[in-house]
């Protein structure tokens, strides 16, 4: 009798142990499966959200060209279908990576999308769409975080291989790790004519085309350029539907120059300001004289200069001081066609050129918008190839959940 009881007890204990072990194993598997499913759902959501952003122009549809806050968020170019993005809507996204700055003369803070000295793009916060607003308009606030990056696929890098007379520039065209051979390269060379004294600089321009070799290299030779001449060189590469852009500038002075700041998209207005007002060099230095022009990429993939009337403010002067002299100048871009604003400047016998894209694609500037993704538990990504005014970009969305769950191990 006692033996039977002990047998029963042992049997029950073993049975309970087996049940607990089974439940434990099963629970672990179920938890992992649920987490997998959530990750899978996040990936699907990421793909859907990316399409939502890229296949919808937002509202108003041309909000990129207006000074309004959109009531619906989307980046598609309203004049096209498919994955073509508006070069102006992209300009209005507040940069995630650039260091913002405040211009003390107007008190406005600017989103900084610049790509190094001479290649500037500053958009006032009052005109830029920030992450919080975009997230709200997309309906992802408090549920998902995201980061959107739009990166040009074709890289056109330019280097000086011979600095003077003749100036020789090497143009290297590559895709994502693969050279683009036999690509048509259309370029614009703009040299600042040194006048000396307190005058607006003048410039000479040259437009030409060439082809890359098997290694994706092309050479452009410019006669009558001295080692102390300031110039800008812009190259567009084109092959089988792929378009990329590169640029290179040489200045003779890097402290006193003009900085272009976007003032109004709707009015197409740009403020040209003295660099000392931004970088706070000291002591205050002399006025900067400038002469601006505008070039655009035509449909046959050649560059063309678009004349600007004097009434646009193409000629002028800016000063650092607080006196009665004009501290910044206002310039009106003559068109909504994307192009490049080129500003030649002269100050105290120092010369240079600064560029600003009008439409993000004109200089193939990358865009990084959204929130920081470091430290997130799980991030889903998806990519699309997109076109921005014929320039090929890769759009990548990283998405993560804010609702908090984790894998237990």
């Amino acid at each position: 009798m006692t033996g039977t009881t002990i047998d029963h007890l042992v049997a029950v204990i073993v049975f309970l142990g087996a049940i607990l072990l089974f439940i434990s194993l099963f629970n672990q598997t179920i938890q992992t499966a649920i987490t997998y499913q959530r990750h899978r759902y996040l990936a699907t959501k990421c793909s859907d959200l990316l399409d939502d952003i890229l296949l919808n122009p937002g509202y108003p549809t041309d909000w990129g060209k207006l000074n309004v806050t959109p009531t619906s968020f989307g980046l598609q170019d309203p004049e096209f279908t498919e994955y073509r993005l508006s070069p102006f809507s992209l300009m209005r996204l507040q940069s995630l990576t650039g260091t913002p700055f405040t211009y003390p003369r107007t008190g406005a803070t600017y989103s900084n999308m610049s790509m190094g000295f001479g290649n500037f793009l500053f958009v006032p916060y009052t005109e830029a769409i920030n992450y919080s607003m975009a997230s709200q308009l997309l309906g992802t606030n408090n549920t998902y975080g995201f980061q959107l990056t739009i990166t040009p696929i074709i890289t056109v890098s330019i280097s000086e291989t011979h600095a003077a007379n003749p100036l020789t520039l090497t143009i290297r065209v590559t895709g994502t790790g693969f050279p683009l051979s036999n690509a048509l390269v259309s370029y614009c060379f703009l040299k600042v004519a040194e006048k000396g004294g307190q005058k607006n600089p003048s410039y000479t321009s040259l437009f030409n085309t060439t082809y890359t070799d098997n290694e994706g290299l092309a050479v452009a030779t410019m006669p009558n350029v001295d080692a102390d001449n300031a110039y800008a060189f812009i190259a567009y590469a084109h092959m089988s539907g792929l378009v990329g852009i590169g640029y290179y500038e040489r200045a003779t002075g890097y402290e006193e120059y003009v900085l272009p700041l976007i003032d109004s998209f709707e009015e197409k207005q740009v403020l040209l300001v003295h660099s000392y007002n931004v970088h706070d060099f000291s002591p205050p230095e002399s006025s900067v004289f400038f002469n601006a022009t505008f070039v655009l990429l035509t449909e046959d993939f050649t560059l063309r200069e678009m004349p600007m009337e004097n009434s646009t403010g193409k000629l002028g002067m800016v000063v650092y001081g607080q006196g009665t002299e004009k501290q910044y100048a206002t310039l009106t871009i003559p068109t909504y066609n994307p192009g490049i604003l080129i500003v030649t400047y002269e100050s105290n016998n120092e010369y240079g050129v600064v560029l600003m894209p009008w439409g993000i694609s004109s200089m193939a500037f990358p865009v990084s918008f959204g929130n920081d993704l470091s430290g997130r538990e799980w991030v889903a990504t998806d990519t699309r190839q997109v076109m921005v005014n014929n320039v090929v970009y890769q759009a990548k969305l990283a998405l993560w959940t804010l609702e908090g769950y984790q894998v237990t191990s």
């Binding site: 598997t29 992992t32 089988s240 792929l242 990519t383 014929n390």
Partner: protein, 422 residues
């Protein structure tokens, strides 16, 4: 153990995959951004352009993506539907997880035709009369001649009508008003476009005679406009005034050789607002009475209606979306003369209607009897608006022609695979 055996969890790559199908589609669209892909795939398989396509394809993809691009000829009839033409790839195989997108491309040599439905094809009528009278002068068509406008209207509208007749002189117009067809066309339910702006051709003889065309007591030809309104009702015509104040002048170079419209244009006589008032009374079968009170207004800048904008896209006609209206008709005419607005070309501004098709309907009648389409804009006329208004009102359908002819279409299939990782 049992649970582990029966619960098969997905591989990490399957949990959060890149959407290869979308990536393939957008890659194809990118490569065809300026129609380079469309051009290349119709070239000889040995053409160097294929090499460039491969370079471009390799250059625009992330390094972990391998591809296979295959182009198929699309054939019709009883033969095999898809025949492979050429394939390019950068890998021997695409691994276990692949996805693809297809893209149908038409040769640039293919011409697409659109065949419009003919107005009147089902309900009868379908004749378009364009007044092109050589013995008439126009007013407020500055920069054009009535003849040049007539030619453009013929080009734009004749594909949509069963018959298009140019009325070459006022004698032919008189013949029409008598109910006699010019070329055995159907007179009933026709559309008549007056290309002379604010002036209207008047035939000499019967239609200029006292109590038919001429009001002797007022020394006015407003009574001709009344007769015209009656004829429009009787024949169920749609009378179109392309610009300005409708029927403000009557013109016949032979009838008025020494008279001018007070602005130096001879062969023309001013009727003033009495012309339109008389026309509307005739259209509504009211007895003629002389009424010289102006009824139009000047709402200024006016905008195309949402319907008109939709028809712009459907018919491929793109006039400016806004214009200036200085001769807009009042809304009150709809009740005074039993008119229904069937199409608004422009949005109304208050009580003013800058451009609309008014169809007359007696209260006891279910059918329309005559219509007026008036564009009360300031000079000069834009005949695209006239075309848009007519097409928007009759709504003829467009039938795109099929393009299944052999050799005109090719199918591009781009298949992607991922390498590396699990």
């Amino acid at each position: 153990m049992i649970a582990s055996i029966f619960t098969v969890l997905p591989q990490p790559r399957q949990v959060s995959p890149i959407n290869l199908r979308r990536l393939a589609l957008t890659t194809l669209q990118t490569l065809d951004g300026d129609y380079d892909l469309s051009e290349t795939i119709f070239k000889d398989p040995n053409d160097p352009a294929w090499g460039q396509l491969q370079v471009a394809l390799s250059a625009c993809l992330p390094p972990n993506i391998v591809y296979n691009l295959t182009v198929y000829e699309v054939l019709g009839g009883t033969t095999q539907l898809y025949t492979p033409i050429k394939s390019i790839s950068n890998a021997e195989n695409l691994g276990v997880g692949t996805d693809s997108s297809s893209y149908l491309v038409a040769s640039s040599n293919v011409t697409f035709n659109v065949i419009p439905e003919k107005i009147g094809e089902h309900e009868g009528g379908g004749t378009l009369y364009i007044l092109n009278c050589s013995d008439t002068n126009g007013w407020w068509i500055t920069g054009y001649t009535a003849q040049s406008l007539a030619e453009d209207l013929y080009r734009l509208l004749s594909p949509y009508f069963q018959a298009t007749i140019m009325v070459q002189n006022t004698t032919e117009l008189g013949q029409l008003l008598n109910g006699t067809a010019l070329q055995n066309e159907t007179l009933q339910n026709a559309v008549v476009i007056n290309t002379f702006g604010e002036a209207v051709p008047i035939p000499a003889g019967y239609y200029a005679s006292t109590d038919v065309g001429y009001d002797a007591s007022q020394n006015s030809y407003a009574q001709y406009c009344h007769t015209l309104g009656r004829r429009v009702r009787e024949y169920n015509w749609t009378w179109i005034s392309i610009v300005g104040y409708p029927l403000y002048y009557v013109s016949n170079a032979g009838l008025f050789p020494n008279e001018q419209n007070t602005w130096g244009i001879y062969g023309m006589r001013c009727v003033g607002p009495a012309g339109l008032n008389a026309f509307l009374r005739g259209l509504d079968d009211q007895a003629y009475s002389y009424d010289s009170n102006g009824i139009t207004g000047s709402p200024g800048v006016v905008y195309l209606s949402s319907d008109a904008l939709e028809y712009c896209n459907y018919y491929g006609i793109y006039p400016s979306p806004y214009h200036t209206a200085t001769r807009a008709l009042p809304s009150s005419i709809t009740s005074t003369y039993h008119l229904n607005v069937t199409t608004y070309v422009f949005d109304r501004v208050g009580n003013w209607t800058p451009g609309a098709v008014y169809r007359h309907q007696f209260p006891s009648d279910s059918n329309f009897t005559g219509a007026l389409f008036a564009l009360g804009l300031t000079r000069t006329p834009d005949i695209r608006l006239t075309t848009l208004g007519i097409l928007g009102d009759y709504k003829p359908r467009l039938y795109p022609s099929e393009y299944t002819a052999a050799g005109t279409s090719r199918l591009v299939v781009l298949q992607f695979g991922q390498i590396g990782g699990v």
